[in-house]
């Protein structure tokens, strides 16, 4: 079914969604636009190109509490934080970010050891995807066969019309949620035509592309090449790229205690940090930033391919836009691929 709601009624839509579960949606603040858990329906904005950070935090938050404990003279009292089954709706996810969930699924819940935190949240979340209506020069998601108005992976897909949002149920879960919201109307035949046109016309919105044939093997082959020293020269080794990226997933587990009470929590880590590979012996196999940059590229374009058959990148362009020294991951990969 195709339904519609006028722009001015966005907060009403959000209110209605909030009755069905926790809503995560883009909110504007002095940082820019970012996904947040919504407290006030009026906070939501759908007027943005893409968010600063990816929506991966809906399933993989920056801090994820696992065990709460108290240290006493008699010993430690600890209890596991219960797994989260709360139904959630994430609204306004661009097609490249929708694809990123599937890329991460392969690691977190694809087989072998399943991450229950990721899996449960994925199962209980309804994804409302949101078509792009223009292209930013940093983006390169066309590389991965992701369309600007690609509904694949969304439960509901949303397109911005002239004066209203058009929403289509894609999966059964999505149809159910969409059908149960009384305040939005059914779309007209004309709307349906417009929607289909937008989806079809989106192929005209192409991003630049990166040649990805054979990256896994080539990157292994050029591992020792001094190219990486030059490529990493401007890099600050901060964690901005990893923290805005939809497919970066490295994490650390820390016990944070104060005055005898604490929490064991999973927190985002970054291969860019100097202590990422620091061993307890004091040895660090990756002391140079050229090694760390090489690692990030190889993890995404080589090792992940070998392990999971897909490149761990969706071309969203965030790392390029947010990098303080303007490193372009496309240029870095192309440079490596062009090596003899």
């Amino acid at each position: 079914m195709l339904r519609k709601i006028g722009f001015e009624r966005t907060s009403e839509l959000v209110s209605a969604l909030m009755e069905k579960g926790e809503v995560f949606a883009p909110v504007a603040n002095s940082a820019g636009v970012n996904f947040q858990k919504i407290q006030e329906p009026g906070d939501v904005t759908l007027d943005f190109y893409n968010t600063l950070q990816s929506p991966k935090s809906v399933f993989f938050p920056q801090t994820d509490d696992m065990v709460r404990y108290r240290l006493t003279h008699e010993g430690t009292e600890a209890e596991e934080v219960p797994l989260d089954f709360e139904p959630r709706i994430v609204l306004g996810v661009r097609p490249c970010d929708v694809r990123s969930f599937e890329v991460m699924d392969r690691l977190f819940s694809g087989g072998g050891i399943v991450d229950p935190y990721w899996e449960n949240r994925r199962k209980s979340t309804t994804i409302i995807g949101y078509a792009f209506d223009k292209v930013d020069p940093a983006d390169f998601y066309s590389t991965f066969g992701i369309g600007a108005a690609d509904p694949t992976g969304s439960d509901i897909f949303m397109v911005k019309g002239e004066s209203a949002f058009l929403l289509k149920g894609i999966t059964e879960k999505g149809e159910e949620v969409l059908g149960s919201i009384d305040l939005i109307e059914d779309a007209s035949a004309k709307d349906k035509e417009y929607f289909e046109e937008r989806l079809a016309g989106a192929s005209l919105l192409e991003t630049r592309t990166l040649a990805t044939e054979g990256t896994a093997e080539k990157l292994e082959a050029v591992f020792e090449n001094p190219y990486w020293v030059g490529a990493a020269a401007p890099c600050l080794n901060c964690g901005v790229c990893t923290f805005v990226c939809p497919t970066c997933h490295c994490f650390d587990i820390q016990d944070e205690t104060l005055f005898g009470k604490g929490v064991r929590r999973r927190i985002w880590d970054s291969c860019m940090f100097t202590d990422f590979t620091l061993h307890t012996s004091g040895h660090n196999p990756r002391t140079k930033k050229s090694q760390r940059l090489r690692q990030r590229i190889n993890h995404k374009f080589s090792y992940y391919v070998t392990n999971f058959d897909v490149i761990s990148c969706v071309g969203c362009g965030r790392c390029i836009r947010s990098c303080p020294v303007h490193i372009d991951i496309v240029a870095v990969v192309e440079g490596a691929m062009a090596l003899p």
Binding site: G32, A138, A233, F243, Q254
Partner: protein, 283 residues
């Protein structure tokens, strides 16, 4: 700017050709004109990629510590950047004889993120380098605005409101450490925040932990921060860190009658003990 770019390329080429330096730290082409990148030219061919335009805001002094001691380096510096070089010289992290300082009097610099002009509100506002071997352009007239004028609003706030302001700003911090890593003076290995024993601050981005990191960093830079504003420009969450750094610098200058990074004959205020030093800090 085009003339500065041409002179920069010329000097870089000359210095590499005659072997006077091993590397030239300057700016290079990025993915478009508005996004130049820090660039290390090591060969004469490399110098072809050197650029200079109004978006070349990066403080190249940050990269001096990336090279082993004794490396002969030519470095392109604007006003504040040159002060950072002075601090590193004061702290004996580099030797004067290993450097060829290419001074760029910079006027009309712009922030690549916002395309706004950069002025005293986000930088030290000294466009002319304080130390150089070769000046690549004519000195520019100093605008004369105090770099601390921007603090008036914050200084006028009630303590409670100021706390609310900084708590609000610092709760947006995601602990990416772009600020620390962009700073030429943050070269400590290990940084206090990366230490596990003792653990000075937790790693997760809670407000308490963020405050611990930032407040400590602000104080570690007292008397050393030269107000280039790169920390705030690097921050992906637009936290105005430069405002706090400016306040600390202002207090430090008032107390010890010395601005950071102005003369190689000085030592940073917190390092240099003089009998006549102000006791205010102890009261």
């Amino acid at each position: 700017m085009k003339r500065i770019e041409a002179r920069l390329k010329e000097e870089a080429k000359r210095l590499l050709e005659n072997g006077e330096v091993e590397v030239v730290l300057a700016y290079g082409k990025g993915y478009d004109d508005r996004h130049p990148m820090p660039y290390a030219a090591k060969t004469v061919t490399d110098t072809e990629r050197i650029v200079f335009n109004e978006y070349c805001t990066h403080n190249m002094a940050r990269y001096l510590m990336d090279y082993p001691p004794g490396t002969r380096i030519a470095i392109a510096v604007k006003g504040c950047d040159s002060r950072a070089v002075v601090v590193l010289l004061q702290e004996e992290k580099i030797k004067r004889e290993d450097l060829v300082i290419l001074g760029i009097p910079a006027a009309g610099m712009r922030d690549a993120k916002t395309d706004q002009p950069i002025d005293a509100s986000t930088t030290c506002d000294m466009p002319n380098p304080v130390l150089y071997d070769i000046l690549l352009g004519d000195e520019v007239t100093v605008p004369g605005t105090s770099p601390y004028k921007i603090l008036e609003e914050l200084e006028g706030m009630d303590g409670k409101d100021r706390w609310a302001f900084w708590s609000g700003e610092l709760s947006r911090c995601i602990r990416c450490y772009a600020c620390r890593n962009a700073c030429p003076m943050c070269y400590c290995d290990p940084c206090f925040v990366d230490q596990a024993e003792p653990r000075w601050a937790d790693k997760s981005p809670s407000l308490e932990s963020n405050l611990m990191f930032h407040l400590t960093r602000f104080y570690h830079l007292a008397g050393r921060c030269i107000d280039c504003g790169e920390c705030s420009r690097a921050c992906p969450m637009n936290i105005p860190l430069h405002l706090f750094h400016k306040k600390v610098a202002k207090e430090c200058e008032a107390m010890f009658d010395q601005a950071a990074g102005m003369s190689v004959d000085d030592k940073p205020a917190m390092v240099d003990f003089r009998v006549e030093d102000s006791d205010e800090i102890l009261l």
